[in-house]
């Protein structure tokens, strides 16, 4: 079992230092693929799902990308371990909810391929920061390598065949995880969401479909997968993300300028609470960490501290808190433990100063 190893390892999203990670936390590419001649997981009988799983996992394990990586089978994991994988975005809630799903995860946790989710294969590549082309390039190479050993269901007219009509064609979902405290504080988020929706982009919360946007973090992704080339999909998303990032910076600068001391006070108070609280709920932690992240971006705190804030956002989630504690905790227990972890991490944090960015 390797969920402990996954937690202990230094990963792309929890330990990557530097880089241009203000506003865009991470870039993600997902490709949906299916094997020819086997029913989709939702309709397949257990032996067929097992055959799919065996064939896919064997093929994946043979690829250089997954050397010294992890293979996790949902049926062999407890609730908490599965929740940890969901919180780290390595598997979806849907995969974690079933027994016959598996995931093959690269050593650095940038690549995870889900087997027997809605489709036979869901290739996922994630990079910290905004790296659309680089992330796509990894997914493309992996897709080619897998296509060399597994015969994929493909139709001349409809492209890659998927279980759901919303994924057919390229099977590509490209997304950016963005941190938008400026637009949220300024009350512009509804307007931005509407504009994105109208131009074919979806806006979701922190853990994807049907989740809330805790900590002002949103996931923006393409919806159309048919009739557009991969390149066109990436360009469309890329153009919008660039625009959203600009709008976010404008909102932040305007807020800092108009609010002056009040702006700094808000960020400083959040640091104060995080450094002294004895009980900290998950959503409270997320919202205050969002302020710390904003402070790092704006030069109110040293920029090199930002990665620690990002790590706390991931490790402050309920299953992570319990996994670190090595035991099941009730709600109060989790809040107490979370507060302790955050206090310890922030104990030598400098004070919040005026913005310089």
């Amino acid at each position: 079992m390797s969920v402990e190893d996954i937690l202990a390892a230094e990963s792309e999203l929890t330990h990557l230092l530097g880089g241009q990670q203000a506003v865009v936390l991470s870039t993600r590419i997902r490709l949906a693929r299916n094997l020819e001649g086997l029913p989709f997981p939702g309709w397949a009988k257990l032996p067929q799902r097992k055959e799919t799983s065996d064939r896919c996992v064997t093929a994946l394990e043979g690829l250089p990308k997954f050397r010294r990586g992890h293979v996790v089978r949902m049926g062999e994991l407890g609730d908490r371990d599965r929740a940890v994988l969901v919180e780290r975005h390595l598997v979806s809630k849907e995969l974690a909810a079933g027994k016959s799903g598996a995931a093959v995860i690269s050593r650095d946790q940038t690549v995870s391929v889900m087997v027997n989710e809605e489709d036979h294969l869901r290739i996922q590549v994630v990079k910290a920061g905004w790296h659309l082309r680089g992330t796509w390039h990894i997914a493309e190479q992996l897709d080619d390598a897998l296509g060399g050993v597994l015969k994929m269901a493909f139709s001349d007219r409809l492209g890659y065949l998927t279980a759901c009509p919303t994924n057919v064609g390229t099977g590509l979902r490209a997304s950016a995880m963005v941190h938008l405290p400026g637009l949220c504080l300024a009350g512009h988020m509804d307007k931005v969401t509407r504009a994105l929706n109208q131009d074919g982009l979806a806006v979701r919360g922190w853990l994807g479909e049907g989740t809330e946007a805790a900590g002002n973090v949103f996931q923006i992704s393409n919806q159309q997968t048919l009739g557009l080339s991969e390149d066109a999909i990436l360009k469309h998303l890329g153009g919008w993300i660039k625009h959203v990032v600009e709008q976010e910076w404008n909102a932040r600068r305007k807020l800092a300028q108009e609010e002056g001391e009040k702006f700094v006070d808000r960020l400083a108070r959040s640091l104060g609470v995080l450094r002294s609280a004895r009980l900290l709920t998950s959503s409270e932690a997320m919202n205050m960490l969002s302020h710390l992240r904003l402070a790092c971006d704006m030069g109110c705190l040293p920029e090199e501290r930002r990665h620690l804030v990002d790590r706390l956002m991931i490790e402050g989630q309920p299953a992570h808190v319990q996994a670190r504690a090595g035991q099941e905790l009730d709600s109060d227990g989790r809040d107490r433990r979370r507060a302790a972890v955050v206090r310890e991490a922030l104990k030598d944090f400098p004070e919040v100063g005026p913005p310089t960015a």
């Binding site: 029913p39 909810a97 139709s155 001349d156 065949l161 064609g169 049907g210 009739g227 991969e230």
Partner: protein, 159 residues
Amino acid sequence: MSKPIQCSLCEEAATVHLSQVVHGKVTKVHLCEACAQKGGATDPAVFQLADALAAATPAPTLTCPQCGFTDLDFRKRGRLGCPACWETFGEALDGLLLKVQHEPAHVGRAPAGAVPVAQLRRRLDAARLEMTAAVAGEDFEAAARLRDEIATLERQLAS
């Protein structure tokens, strides 16, 4: 204990129960946790779907020869049974595809070794038009490039 009510969309036990009254008619929908969250329990589409389910339970008109999946299964799940279903339900799905995807056909990558005939043909048609325009506009450099592309496309399609 009585048998739990099944979710209207899948086979899990339903835990979310919704009632809606329209024109004095009561519609009840039972959903499992996952479907309720996914569909958004307040989504009117859930009721439309329930209406559709309640209104007509006729015999299936299409069955996939490969996996036994029927058009009724699709209506219930919104997902297909196997890759061959796309062939079986092809025409029936075209309207839905246009609605959710706005385009009828794939443009993009193909697995190594697969010749994307329809895509090549579309490109060939476009290239021929572009060449006519280039010649008319006396852009002979572009016309020559397009002529080479057309030749390559014709060769790929012939093979």
